[in-house]
């Protein structure tokens, strides 16, 4: 099919269609420039001086180029602490949450047990409930347990798994024939070993992609940390960036704010560039199957 299409494409591409291609490409490039221009401007402003940013004559190119803001941001203890806190949250959540999610997905997809459909529907329904409904009770719960003085409100819920990942992996496993389970049973394979040595390797690719997306979600999350974390010591990176914004805007240190924002975007951007094929594929699948 794909081959066929290629052949047709090269045969039929007339002068007119090549012309259209060129126009489309130019139009899309202009659009792309508009899309990334604010981000480019962010990077450039981080190299400007305060005076240049605040001058009446608008300019884009830094003059002179100042590279000091990045080391200034990286030397701030709050920034490093924020980075550390975000990673402290991400590591256990991804490892344990990834394990519990894939284990549930295997069970929902391949094992027979009573109440399966009911439990699954219950989990799915939670995807529709707005966070606003549960944030107040969760906040009170975490306060009562004394967790708001730590990172636990961000870590513990994640350890129990992630519904959208369970859903995605379960879909992913439907293409694996059920007969594998029967064959493994006949060989006397236990259920955990079945998960660990047969199904986990089968979902490895899909699981990795989902974990990358989950990491991006944890990295970019602002709402939960800002509600649940009361102690400045445990602010995650996004909360720190936001407080930089309020703090340094007072003396108009915009280059520093922009440098900090660039650093906050960079890791997810790099992950996206490296893994974009898998990420885009998995997003497209979830959209089409919706």
């Amino acid at each position: 099919m794909a081959n066929n299409r290629d052949e047709m494409g090269s045969e039929i591409k007339s002068a007119k269609s090549k012309m259209i291609d060129r126009i489309v490409f130019v139009a899309l490039s202009l659009g792309a420039v508009v899309m990334v221009f604010p981000l480019i401007y962010m990077v450039l402003s981080s190299f400007m001086t305060k005076n240049q940013i605040l001058s009446a004559d608008f300019s884009i190119i830094p003059n002179p180029w100042k590279f000091g803001k990045y080391s200034e941001v990286l030397a701030k203890p709050e920034f490093l602490r924020g980075l550390r806190n975000t990673l402290i949250v991400a590591a256990p959540v991804l490892v344990i949450g990834g394990f519990t999610s894939s284990l549930s997905a295997f069970s929902f997809s391949k094992l027979k047990f009573r109440g399966k459909n009911g439990i699954f529907l219950g989990l799915l329904a939670t995807m529709m409930i707005p966070f606003a409904v549960v944030m107040i009770p969760q906040y009170v719960m975490f306060t009562k347990m004394g967790w708001t003085n730590s990172l636990l409100p961000l870590i513990i819920p994640g350890l129990f798994g992630n519904v959208s990942i369970i859903f995605f992996l379960r879909q992913n496993l439907t293409s694996v024939p059920d007969s594998i389970v029967e064959a493994a049973k006949l060989d006397g394979c236990g259920y955990f070993r079945m998960y660990y040595s047969i199904f986990l390797p089968l979902m490895k690719g899909a699981l990795m992609t989902q974990l990358i997306l989950w990491f991006m979600g944890i990295w970019n999350d602002y709402l939960a940390p800002t509600i649940f974390i009361q102690n400045e010591k445990w602010f995650t990176l996004q909360v720190v960036i936001r407080s930089f914004n309020s703090y340094y805007a007072v003396n108009s240190d915009y280059p520093l704010i922009m440098a900090a924002s660039v650093l906050a975007i960079l890791p997810t951007l790099l992950l996206f560039f490296f893994f974009q094929r898998y990420i885009i594929e998995s997003l497209a699948v979830s959209g089409v199957k919706g």
Binding site: A27, M35, L39, P157, N245, Y254, A284
Partner: protein
């Protein structure tokens, strides 16, 4: 499905029972998490919404029945933030149209087009807080990027984007469309790639123009994607909050930028009206539920599938 039912009816044998136990054990973390962090809080929030609870006092002593809900219906500020939230949803169709048009362009075989696709997607993966801070700066009245460009082109000073009751809404819509466009493009692109090429070839032989192809083949056949974007856009649209909190922390001149969740957050966490906040959260959930249900009911009328 039918196998599961048969198991439920008759008594399980040993092997089946073993599988039942392991199956339950494997889903138990997710299920326990669901009970602790979703089911219990939902029930709790519902009870709280019937009280004048401030987070500290006793809930049962301050039981006021449906009074919070009645008060909410007469709360002008609530209607105002609801209207603001709905106005922001103008961004949903704008993002769909732009996304579809760009995706159609990207569906052509042109060298370098994949790289452009990546560029459009960059805002989607960027941290919301960081880009909201960036756009706050872009919208800055005196020195912002946007007003500098307006001045360069027209010679006049641009609007006070975030400081004006009307322009602040325009600003937020621009920001949200910019942030989400990449994902509409990706989804439309995958929808377009599912349309068989012969449909277009056949229509071309019949003499259909480019516009006809777009209107009569492309638009109906990507309708499942449009439906998905509409549902997720509306569910997300009702919950817009962080971008407002970062860009317009005060809620805007006369609360012109505040959304439902923004108001709810202020009520619950700044003025400790947790009962009132919970009632608002439930109204929000009901709105989302109704709108989603209407969409699912109406989908037969316009959502086509490729057979």
């Amino acid at each position: 499905m039918s196998g599961g039912k048969a198991v439920a009816k008759k008594k399980m044998n040993r092997a089946e029972f073993r599988e039942h136990c392991w199956g339950l054990a494997f889903v138990s973390p997710a299920f326990i998490g669901f009970l602790i962090f979703m089911a219990f809080p939902i029930a709790f929030a519902f009870f709280a919404s019937l009280t004048k609870w401030n987070g500290m006092n006793s809930m049962t002593d301050n039981f006021i029945g449906l009074n919070n809900y009645i008060k909410l219906l007469g709360d002008d500020k609530f209607w105002k933030v609801l209207l603001n939230t709905v106005i922001y949803m103008i961004g949903i169709p704008i993002g769909m149209i732009l996304g579809l048009v760009i995706a159609v362009g990207m569906n052509r075989k042109i060298k370098g087009i994949k790289f452009l696709r990546t560029l459009y997607y960059v805002p989607v993966v960027s941290s919301l807080v960081a880009v909201a801070i960036l756009w706050m700066w872009v919208f800055n009245y005196d020195y912002g990027l946007l007003n500098s460009i307006v001045k360069m082109i027209s010679g006049q000073h641009g609007p006070n984007w975030l400081g004006d009751e009307f322009w602040v809404k325009v600003s937020m819509i621009i920001f949200m469309v910019w942030k989400g466009l990449g994902s509409s493009i990706i989804l439309y692109l995958s929808g377009l790639q599912g349309i068989p090429r012969d449909y277009y070839e056949a229509a071309k032989i019949d003499g259909a123009s480019g516009w006809n192809l777009f209107r009569d083949i492309t638009v109906p056949l990507v309708s499942p994607v449009t439906f998905y974007l509409l549902i997720t856009g509306l569910i997300g649209g009702f919950q817009v909050f962080v971008e407002v909190l970062v860009m317009v922390p005060s809620g805007g001149l006369n609360y012109s930028a505040a959304t439902v969740v923004f108001y709810l957050y202020e009520k619950a966490f700044s003025s400790n009206q947790m009962g009132y906040g919970s009632a608002m959260a439930f109204i929000l959930a009901i709105f989302i539920f109704i709108v989603t249900a209407i969409n699912f009911k109406g989908q037969d009328k316009w959502v086509k599938t490729i057979e």
